[in-house]
């Protein structure tokens, strides 16, 4: 962990329940991710990988320890500040896409900016749309898109506000292998071509193989942290 880290945590503990029944989902995790990194967090069910992501993303509150996102200690922030942090600094990609069915693909992509009341950067938006390759589908509603297309819209949505970091929670979990490959490739492009940082929770080894780095959790502790051999440009 260094000061160059865009996201980091130190001695992170997340305990659920009280007394005897208490479970340490995270039992003291210290890890940092640098800007421009494409990292995969892996581990078996119940290993704490999702909890780690939730704590790093400001969705869950740590029981102890510190979390720093883009230079801001977020463990002590109130809901309002956390919301603003998520809005401005963090992008999300969910397993079940979570697009709003009432909005068109374009509106879904622009949603984070709309919420913030900001105008999109047209050049950036055009690059994103070209990257996901859905320019001819922008006016479609999610129900008119395939699963892979929906997830590509979700990827664009996560990137539209140029967040400090994008968290992806099992982004290929609901996709067939072809669509999975496309989405993973797109995340790869986001890091390589667009200079974004992506942290992805997955138990899909193929997904992890695309990443630069794989962090493996078991019983709330990091048991492995390795650089993937794939050459990074």
């Amino acid at each position: 962990m260094t000061s160059a880290d865009i996201v980091s945590c130190t001695d992170l503990v997340r305990r659920y329940g009280e007394g005897e029944a208490a479970v340490n989902a995270l039992a003291g995790v210290t890890v940092g991710f640098t800007k421009g990194e494409y990292a995969a967090i892996m581990g078996p069910s119940g290993s704490g990988k999702s909890t780690l992501m939730h704590c790093l993303a400001g969705l869950d509150r740590p029981t102890a320890g510190s979390v720093v996102v883009d230079g801001v200690e977020i463990a002590s922030l109130d809901d309002k500040s956390l919301t603003t942090l998520r809005r401005d600094k963090i992008g999300f990609i969910f397993q079940s896409f979570n697009l709003l069915p009432v909005l068109s693909a374009e509106e879904n992509i622009l949603l984070p900016l709309s919420i913030a009341g900001r105008k999109p950067d047209q050049e950036w938006y055009d690059r994103l749309v070209d990257t996901i390759g859905l320019r001819d589908r922008l006016s479609h509603r999610p129900s008119q898109l395939s699963g892979g297309q929906q997830q590509r819209v979700a990827v664009a949505r996560a990137l539209v506000s140029r967040p400090a970091v994008v968290f992806a929670d099992e982004p290929t979990g609901n996709l067939d292998s072809k669509a999975s490959a496309e989405v993973l490739q797109m995340l790869r492009q986001a890091v390589d071509d667009l200079g974004q940082t992506v942290i992805m929770v997955t138990h899909d080894h193929e997904a992890a193989d695309v990443a630069d780095r794989t962090v493996v959790l078991t019983d709330g502790l990091i048991v492995e942290d390795r650089r993937t051999t794939v050459a990074v440009a």
């Binding site: 993303a57 809005r87 709309s114």
Partner: protein, 847 residues
């Protein structure tokens, strides 16, 4: 899994509570109405029965034609008849009594006692065993210039035994000493009415009657039963009196009250019905939404082998439980509500006695049955839809309930129902049908519009939501139209209340405009209107000549009296007005045939009829009428003129004021017109006020403007009362909005989780829910206002022949729309808070 069911329970708790309330509130108004009116009826029964305890037989005057509820009789009992009664073998004691309400009572400080809604009534003191009054302090008046009062009156005005009060009746003002305080019929306060108990000669003097009685009270010798005594007295009685046992007379007295309350009961029940009808929408919507949400549960049941019938029975059973539980809660709430209603009426000047709480079996049966049946009926369609869930839906995530096979009939059905309803209203209004038909028509129109409104929701939502800014506004608009049917039913519930409020507002405005117009057309400038301060009661006959003599500035005095009659060949009673010869100096008659000189030439044989009456009875000038008067005289009258009157002054049949006095037995005037030079109106009115205050304090003079204002005030008072009663229906429809929002939020949990995760603030989430609520509410308000205007147009058209002037209160209608939006804000408070408090992680994990 546990967390999930707990969350489900959380949503169900609100849903269950609000659905129960939707049933309960409507039922409460029904049970409350019964409890209130039963209690009041019973209280009056007791009061009259207690007052008549010592009276075995009562003799009262009998009019040949009875004018109506509570009106003074035209005939009295000649004093000579009393001695005849006393000579009847079975009679141990008989006394005459005299009463009058044409008096004004003042404290020693010259402050008016009573004079509001409840009457001031002079009662002549009666010896044992006839004591109507039981004294709690002091004694009965024995000498002239002595008086006893009700303890409640004394308490209100801080009067003690030994104090002086003054009274003005027929004759000059005089001072009376309070010698006793008591209860009437065992009750210290009878609806705020002021009883003035004086000796018989004093009462006769105040009433201006000589050698006559209003009632003869008879007690029998030991061993003579009241019915026996009644036959004995009946055998010597002339045809102009009624002879009844004490109990019969008490029942007769109470029956007037029962009749008056019967109207109140019907009116209140109608409001209860409206509230239940609105509640039915809520129940229907809640069941529909829950059936949709529990689709997987039903599908699972089907997969496990449950039949369609079993699934349907499960939903129906839930309806039954909610219906019964809601009805029971409503029944109990009604008991509380009865007290609230009583307080409400007291606020509007009707302080009704009510002792204890009477809950009749009928109240329980009707409340439970109506509430349960309405709930079951509303749940029937959703229950049927639940059976359409295919078992495979259990396995498919996000499966949507197939649109019912009957979905395509919704819009045509709405058109048919609306058309049928409109036809019903038209038939009721123009075809001589009934109010019930109009009500049924309105009901059908409401249902029809509710079925049509899913088509109206999208355009209205985008219009109403247009000013709502940003993505939050956009999402609110989309969410409102996402399930257009659901939004439509929710809005329709509010629509019903708003329609009625809008209609009543427009109608009242029209009524005021109509009265203004009629009065302006009919009354000549410089006309003052003199009426009893207590409202409808007549003024003593000597007031009119008294004014003429006392106030020189008054050029014309034209007293008007009202009576009733039976005209040969005409069904029912025919109203009669006594019109003086000089009426044309103060009042413009709209003659169809005849002229201003006609009234002056009526004499003892002429009559003027209204155009309406003439049309209905095919009368022409020259037609002969055989008229029976209340005093039993049969007159042969000739139609001399036909007049159109929108002011309501002229009754169907108008005779000369003198004839009304001599042949109809009218001793008082309903109102008196005083013509003064318009330029000196204020000055003469001031003189007149001073004289009236001195000699006839029960009368007050109003300028035409004041008269119109007073009419408007009365209409406004009634309007407020109706608003309060309609408020219940509106509140129920707000529950509907809350319910729908809560259920929709529950359905959209994951979307809300995502929105929060990507940076939507709690405040934005709240705003989104609030906007959606406002859109729903304003859709209801807009359709309601439009429908209200349409209904008002129809009624105005039907009444146009009576001179009804439609006047649309634009400002009030705009206010109504704004209130609709505010209602939306109110309804959104709880759901918005729930949505904002959602735990993001749990919401995201939510299936």
């Amino acid at each position: 899994m546990l967390k999930l069911s707990l969350r489900g329970f959380g949503a169900r708790k609100v849903r269950l509570g609000l659905t129960l309330l939707a049933v309960a509130l409507g039922v409460a108004l029904i049970s409350g109405t019964y409890v209130l009116t039963d209690t009041i009826n019973k209280s009056f029964d007791n009061i009259f029965a207690t007052a008549a305890k010592g009276t075995d037989v009562s003799v009262t005057p009998k009019d040949a034609v009875v004018e109506g509820n509570g009106a003074d009789t035209a005939t009295t009992i000649p004093a000579a008849f009393l001695s005849k009664v006393q000579a009847v073998p079975g009679v141990s004691k008989a006394v005459g009594t005299v009463g009058t309400s044409n008096v004004a009572l003042f404290t020693s400080a010259n402050k008016r006692i009573g004079g509001g809604g409840a009457p001031t009534q002079v009662i002549s003191a009666t010896p044992k065993p006839f004591d109507v009054i039981s004294y709690t302090d002091g004694r009965a008046p024995t000498g002239d210039n002595e008086v006893a009062l009700l303890a409640s009156t004394a308490k209100d005005k801080h009067i003690k035994v030994g104090d002086d009060v003054s009274i003005v009746g027929n004759g000059p003002r005089q001072t009376l000493k309070v010698v006793g305080l008591g209860k009437f019929g065992g009750v210290s306060n009878v609806g705020g009415f002021v009883a003035v108990i004086v000796t018989l000669p004093e009462a006769q003097r105040l009433a201006g009657v000589k050698d006559a009685y209003d009632e003869i009270l008879v007690a029998g010798k030991p061993g003579v039963t009241p019915p026996e005594l009644r036959s004995q007295v009946q055998s010597i009685a002339p045809s102009t009196v009624n002879v009844r046992t004490g109990q019969q007379q008490a029942d007769e007295n109470a029956s007037d009250i029962h009749d008056a309350l019967g109207f109140l009961t019907t009116a209140l029940l109608a409001f209860g019905g409206i509230a239940l009808f609105v509640g039915a929408f809520i129940i229907f919507n809640t069941f529909s939404i829950t059936v949709a949400q529990r689709m997987r549960e039903f599908a699972l049941l089907r997969t496990l082998g449950a039949s369609r019938r079993q699934v349907m029975m499960q939903v129906i059973f839930e309806g039954l439980v909610i219906g019964v539980a809601g009805s029971v809660i409503g029944l109990l709430l009604g008991v509380v509500l009865a007290k609230g209603l009583r307080a409400l009426f007291k606020l509007f000047g009707a302080d009704l006695p009510s002792q204890g709480t009477i809950i009749e079996t009928r109240t329980i049966v009707v409340s439970l049955l109506v509430g349960t049946i309405v709930t079951l009926l509303s749940g029937l369609a959703p229950a049927y839809r639940a059976t359409k869930v295919p078992p495979v839906a259990a396995l498919r995530e996000g499966a949507v309930l197939p649109p019912g096979r009957n979905a395509r009939f919704v819009t045509p059905g709405g058109i048919v129902l609306t058309a049928l309803g409109a036809a019903g209203i038209a038939l009721g209004l123009f075809g001589g049908g009934s109010v019930a038909l109009v009500g049924l028509g309105a009901l059908l129109v409401f249902l029809g519009i509710a079925l049509l409104s899913p088509k109206l929701v999208p355009p209205l939502a985008s219009f109403i939501g247009a000013p709502m800014p940003g993505i939050v506004g956009r999402l609110a608009r989309e969410n409102a139209t996402r399930q257009a049917g659901r939004t439509a039913v929710t809005a329709s519930a509010l629509m019903i209340g708003v329609t009625l409020v809008a209609f009543v507002s427009i109608f009242a405005q029209g009524l005021k405009a109509t009265i203004d117009d009629a009065v302006d057309t009919a009354a000549k400038p410089g006309t003052l209107i003199i009426e009893n301060t207590a409202g409808g009661s007549p003024l003593p006959a000597q007031v009119a000549p008294g004014i003429k003599a006392a106030v020189p500035g008054v050029r014309t005095v034209a007293p008007i009296s009202f009576s009733t009659s039976k005209v040969a060949g005409v069904a029912g009673k025919t109203s009669v007005s006594g019109i003086p010869a000089n009426i044309s100096q103060v009042f413009d008659t709209q003659w169809k045939q005849g002229n201003d000189a006609t009234f002056a030439s009526l004499g003892a044989t002429g009559a003027v009829v209204t155009k309406k009456f003439a049309d209905a009875q095919h009368l022409k000038v020259g037609s002969k009428l055989s008229v029976l008067t209340p005093t039993g005289k049969r007159l042969s009258l000739t139609v001399r003129g036909i007049a159109d009157d929108n002011s309501g002054l002229l009754a169907d049949l108008s005779v000369s004021h003198d004839l009304a006095t001599t042949a109809f037995g009218k001793t008082g005037d309903a109102l008196i017109f005083a013509g003064v030079p318009p330029a000196q109106e204020q000055a003469v009115k001031a003189q007149l006020d001073a004289k009236l205050k001195q000699f006839y304090p029960i009368a007050e003079a109003k300028t035409i403007q004041q008269f119109k204002d007073q009419q408007a005030t009365q209409i406004n008072g009634l309007l407020v009362l109706i608003y309060v009663l309609l408020l219940l229906a509106v509140v129920i429809s707000l529950f509907g909005i809350v319910n729908t929002l809560v259920l929709s939020i529950y359905e959209r949990t994951r979307e809300l989780g995502m929105l929060r995760a990507i940076g939507t603030s709690r405040r934005q989430v709240k705003r989104m829910i609030r906007y959606e609520s406002i859109i729903t509410a304003v859709i209801g308000a807009v359709i309601g206002v439009v429908l209200g205007i349409v209904f008002a147009l129809a009624v105005a058209q039907a009444l146009s022949s009576d001179g009804f002037k439609l006047s649309i209160p634009i400002v009030q209608l705009v206010i109504l729309l704004v209130l609709g939006a505010l209602a939306g804000v109110l309804a959104a408070i709880l759901p918005a808070r729930r949505a904002a408090r959602l735990n993001v992680l749990e919401a995201l994990a939510y299936e």
